[in-house]
């Protein structure tokens, strides 16, 4: 093959793709060329020089151009001193020496130089034990130093770059990996070098300091202990930690993570999570996670957790035994049977959700189950035209297109934002159809910002334009975008529900399904790297659809002949008395403002981690285990089913959700509960056709991934965990095995507004039951904020910093006004309030409550 280049490294012949760097080529055949500044996910810079190797190139006769040969017939090579293996690309016939005397001397010299201003405080350093500098010094260092100890730099060792990341200036070896990551990978250039030479240091001027959702990743790729998180800093030594594979429970991306745990005296002898780090899965999160995934885990070990079942006696919730509580719940539910209803959340595992619907449908004969807060529609569309199995956003490139509609990926699913951004940089045509500016705009080929309330109509127009053969009229962004999309070889469409009502989001999914189904050269459904990706609100909203947590669908999208009641009807029924008993699992409808009180319910049971507002009103409260204490599976927005494993022991007497539900079920006449989550999953695989090829063993399968950064080498230590616990399996969308019909998308009248319309936007650090407990991100939690453009602020006669009363449909909330030149004119955005406060794009009233202090001063 012509795009392969053959070279020899230390006498071993290897063929690698053209353009491969010498350091990577060596890594492929397990020959180690040590590196500090180089990282396979970053552009090479050749700054640290530790990868110096001898590189020889075949010599040619100047006159004839023939290759020169030695007497023994081997090609004559010309070695020209030492070169950096991380910046030189391979070429045909190249010979590399990685262990010759000059190389060893150079390597030793670089290490000696780096150590000349290094504190060697390894015994107290967080990185000690998984530190590339420590490892390489042990392997290649000289063992002696010419360092003049009186000249050792004594500089600041505890520099907070914001409250999440600390810099130890003495340990920094100035490789710039952190700076390059922030600039190249995540476009947040908020840390930089300052000054030169021995005065060089890493600085930030953003407000708050190191203002980025990605800051924790820099501590992973830091090859020394210069950057540490305030969460893990001085928390434990790496060799004391026990790793447990997990899946991030915060968003639909499903990042693979590893929880590092330790049993320790300061936590009262309990085993606790000390840190969360990425676990490599090149098809999902590569080797990165966002800071929410890294830092929001303290809820699992919070003293506020429920520890025992509670039963209401004489108006008070009092501790009870499991048997007493389960008997009571089963008895009450059986009493009300079809007048019982169940509400669950998309945070629960597939095992929990399957058991939940089984309890209601089989155990009680009630069809009234739903998600407590269904914000985004289209699950049944995704089941047909969702992205094909084998999809990996990393495979998209020139000639392909990505469409993002009504979603701010940076806030809702940060890893998807990063991967879409990188795809755009590789040449993918990115088309954005949103109601406002988002962080993706600067990478987009076409950005269409529709008028408030016109989102669905805009997609309808886009679909219309895509259907006809158009030579795009350049002045119409939408027509140009339609042409790009339809002509793309591969097309992935993300959709969310920002500014849309549930019904609108449902219609949106159908329209996008139809767009993907247009046959015009390339097939955009039923293949890998083509199809829909819903930006669900929770980590397992997809699983909730798959398991049949829906009044109209059973497991595996089996349509029910007579649907049960949906969440809205259940809330109404609770108020009116039509619903007599309600079982709420992992959701807080009262706290979220979906349900005012317990209404006329005669029985309310809540299964939770915490005593939420809903739980406080319940007759029985059942303590569930958090995701860190138990096994389970989540299905991400790309329909990848992924396993997570127990990391810490159960908190108090809490039990896994599926087990509690099965124990209630047993008392309500169902069979004995399965004794392991894996057996629950076997039951799922039987009932849900899409899951039939899966079991806990297949989900745990792994294969070798590239780049190889989690392995045993001495220089990518502490980067990310190697994935030894499962890459997950994507289930096949219907379009992959047969033809799919077009969808009937209902017509929904677009809204028009006389005054400034309002939408609710999602914030990564929205405050909530789980996020509030992680003190480390407390300062970054978003308080209620109303964002408007300067023009709109002037029209409303409001100024930056005012406290404004925002009234929508009879409800109101107080929010701080932020006037931003980046805000879209003619639209007010509300963030940091409970989900579901504003439905779709709504008319609102804004009244100043407190005048800005800035004006008073």
């Amino acid at each position: 093959m012509s795009d392969l280049v053959t070279l020899t490294i230390d006498g071993v012949e290897v063929s690698v793709p053209k353009g491969t760097l010498v350091a990577d080529a060596a890594k492929k055949i397990q020959i180690d060329i040590p590196v500090f500044c180089y990282h396979p996910k970053l552009e090479p810079v050749g700054m640290c020089r530790v990868c110096l190797v001898e590189i020889g190139l075949p010599m040619r006769d100047r006159a004839t151009g023939e290759l020169l040969k030695n007497e023994d017939g081997s090609p004559k090579l010309s070695f020209r001193g030492l070169q950096t293996g991380c910046t030189v690309a391979v070429s045909e016939g190249m010979a590399v020496r990685t262990a010759s005397q000059p190389v060893k001397e150079a390597r030793g010299a670089v290490l000696e130089f780096l150590l000349s201003s290094h504190p060697l405080d390894c015994p107290v350093c967080d990185k000690g034990g998984e530190c590339p500098l420590q490892n390489l010094t042990m392997a290649h260092g000289k063992g002696t130093s010419r360092m003049a100890f009186n000249d050792k730099l004594k500089i600041a060792k505890h520099v907070p770059l914001g409250e999440l990341i600390y810099l130890d200036r003495e340990r920094c070896i100035q490789c710039a990996r952190c700076i390059r990551f922030q600039e190249e990978i995540v476009d947040d250039p908020v840390i930089r070098f300052h000054n030169r030479g021995r005065s060089l240091e890493i600085v930030t001027m953003s407000e708050p300091g190191f203002d980025s959702y990605w800051s924790g990743n820099t501590t992973d790729i830091c090859p020394v202990g210069a950057l540490t998180t305030s969460d893990f800093r001085f928390g434990a030594r790496p060799w004391e930690l026990t790793p447990a594979a997990s899946i991030c429970p915060h968003c639909p991306v499903g990042c693979n993570t590893t929880m590092s745990t330790r049993r320790e005296a300061i936590s009262g002898g309990r085993k606790v999570i000390k840190r969360i780090m990425p676990r490599q899965n090149e098809a999902v999160n590569e080797i990165w996670i966002c800071d929410k995934g890294r830092f929001v885990h303290h809820f699992a070990d919070s003293a506020q957790r429920l520890t025992t079942p509670l039963i209401r006696k004489d108006g008070q919730l009092v501790e009870a035994s499991w048997d007493e509580a389960l008997d009571l719940v089963a008895g009450q539910l059986q009493k009300h049977k079809s007048a019982a209803a169940g509400l669950a959340s998309g945070r629960l595992s597939n095992e929990d959700l399957f058991q939940f619907q089984k309890l209601f449908r089989k155990g009680l004969g009630s069809r009234n189950i739903d998600l407590a807060n269904r914000q985004l529609g289209g699950g049944e569309i995704v089941a047909q035209v969702g992205v094909g199995s084998g999809t990996n956003l990393k495979d998209l490139g020139k000639g392909d297109a990505i469409l993002v509609v009504a979603s701010d990926l940076h806030e809702e699913a940060p890893l998807w934002w990063m991967r879409v951004k990188q795809a755009a940089e590789r040449g993918v045509s990115l088309v954005l159809v949103n109601g406002r500016r988002t962080r993706l705009d600067k990478f987009a080929a076409h950005t269409v910002n529709y008028e408030p309330g016109q989102g669905l109509m805009t997609i309808r127009r886009l679909f219309g334009l895509a259907q006809v053969e158009t030579e795009s009229t350049r002045d119409d962004q939408l027509a140009a975008a339609a042409e790009k999309l339809i002509k793309a070889e591969n097309l992935v469409a993300f959709y969310g529900s920002e500014g849309l009502t549930f019904d609108e989001s449902d219609a949106l999914a159908k329209l996008l399904g139809n767009l993907l189904l247009i046959k015009n050269g390339h097939n955009h459904t039923g293949r890998a790297n083509n199809g829909l990706i819903p930006v669900w609100p929770h980590s397992n909203s997809q699983g909730a659809w798959d398991m049949g947590i829906h009044p109209a669908y059973g497991p595996g999208y089996a349509a029910l002949e007579t649907p049960g009641l949906g969440a809205a009807q259940i809330y109404a029924g609770a108020a009116s008395g039509d619903i007599e008993a309600l079982y709420v699992v992992g959701a807080d409808p009262v706290g979220d403002g979906l349900m005012a009180d317990r209404g006329k319910l005669s029985f309310l049971v809540v299964q939770e981690l915490f005593l939420t507002e809903t739980a406080a009103l319940a007759d029985v409260v059942l303590p569930a285990q958090s995701w860190a204490e138990r096994e389970g599976t989540y299905t991400n927005g790309e329909r990848r089913v992924q396993r997570y494993y127990p990391a810490i022991p159960a908190y108090g007497d809490s039990r896994p959700d599926w087990q509690i539900l099965a124990q209630v079920g047993e008392r309500a006449g169902l069979e004995k509960p399965a004794f392991a989550a894996s057996l629950m999953f076997k039951e799922i695989a039987k009932a849900v056709t899409q899951y039939k090829h899966m079991d806990y063993r297949s989900l745990a399968q792994v294969e070798k991934q590239w780049p190889d950064v989690g392995g045993d080498d001495l220089y990518y230590g502490g980067n990310a965990y190697e994935n030894g616990s499962g890459l997950g399996q994507q289930w096949m969308a219907a379009a992959e095995s047969g033809a799919v019909e077009r969808f009937e998308a209902p017509d929904i009248e677009p809204n028009s507004f006389e005054s400034l319309p309002l939408i609710q936007t999602r914030a990564l650090y929205a405050s909530g039951t789980l996020t509030n407990i992680s003190k480390v991100i407390e300062a970054r939690l978003v308080s209620p904020t109303l964002t408007v453009s300067p023009a709109d602020a002037a029209r409303l006669e409001l100024s930056d910093g005012d406290v404004v009363d925002v009234a929508v449909n009879g409800a109101s909330v107080q929010a701080k006004l932020s006037v931003s030149k980046y805000a879209t004119v003619g639209l007010a955005q509300l963030s940091g309030v409970g989900s579901g406060f504003v439905s779709g794009t709504a008319a609102a009233e804004f009244n100043r409550v407190v005048e800005s202090e800035k004006e008073l001063a």
Binding site: R192, F193, H194, N195, T204, M205
Partner: protein, 175 residues
């Protein structure tokens, strides 16, 4: 705010680059001229104009020796004391200059007029001792010539508050 005061100039400078952020160095010179040094506020202003993070501006001002992060006098005298200049008496010249102005290296005289700094090679070794005063070279110096220079600058300082020619230079530089 330089954004308002020099709106036209800034527009002109930005227009000369294919990418807006490339205008950062001339705008930093402009800000430094306006405020006397690169204060944190000045950095934020430049960043705001060019859609950069202020950290990026801070990094540049730290890298280049002609941006001052601390307040300096009206006239900054950067005396080269690198090897070649040192051989021609640069160190003694620095001592003399400090004594004469009753100040130390990197400090500013009480009247706010002069700051003496020592710098690496300015490329005029054959004419040492030499210094660069507000970007202008003064060469083949001795005590007498230094006295004349001080007298001239003190006179200039009284007659006009700020030389607009630097703004012109900055605009011209970007051409």
């Amino acid at each position: 705010m330089i954004a308002e005061k020099y709106a036209e100039e800034i527009k002109g400078i930005i227009a000369r680059f294919p990418n807006k952020k490339s205008a950062v160095l001339p705008l930093m010179h402009l800000a430094q001229h306006e405020y006397g040094y690169m204060s944190q506020e000045a950095m934020r202003e430049v960043a705001e104009i060019l859609d950069l993070d202020p950290t990026q501006v801070l990094s540049l001002s730290g890298f280049y020796s002609l941006y001052y992060e601390e307040p300096v006098g009206k006239y900054v005298m950067e005396i080269c004391n690198d090897l070649a200049c040192a051989l021609r008496g640069a160190d003694q010249f620095v001592d003399m200059a400090c004594r004469k102005l009753d100040t130390t290296v990197d400090a500013t005289t009480e009247d706010g007029l002069f700051t003496i700094k020592t710098v690496m090679c300015l490329g005029a070794c054959d004419r040492a001792p030499m210094l660069q005063c507000n970007l202008k070279f003064e060469e083949n110096l001795d005590e007498g010539k230094f006295d004349q220079l001080l007298a001239r600058l003190r006179e200039e300082a009284v007659s006009e508050q700020k030389s607009p020619s630097i703004v012109e230079k900055i605009v011209a530089y970007a051409k």
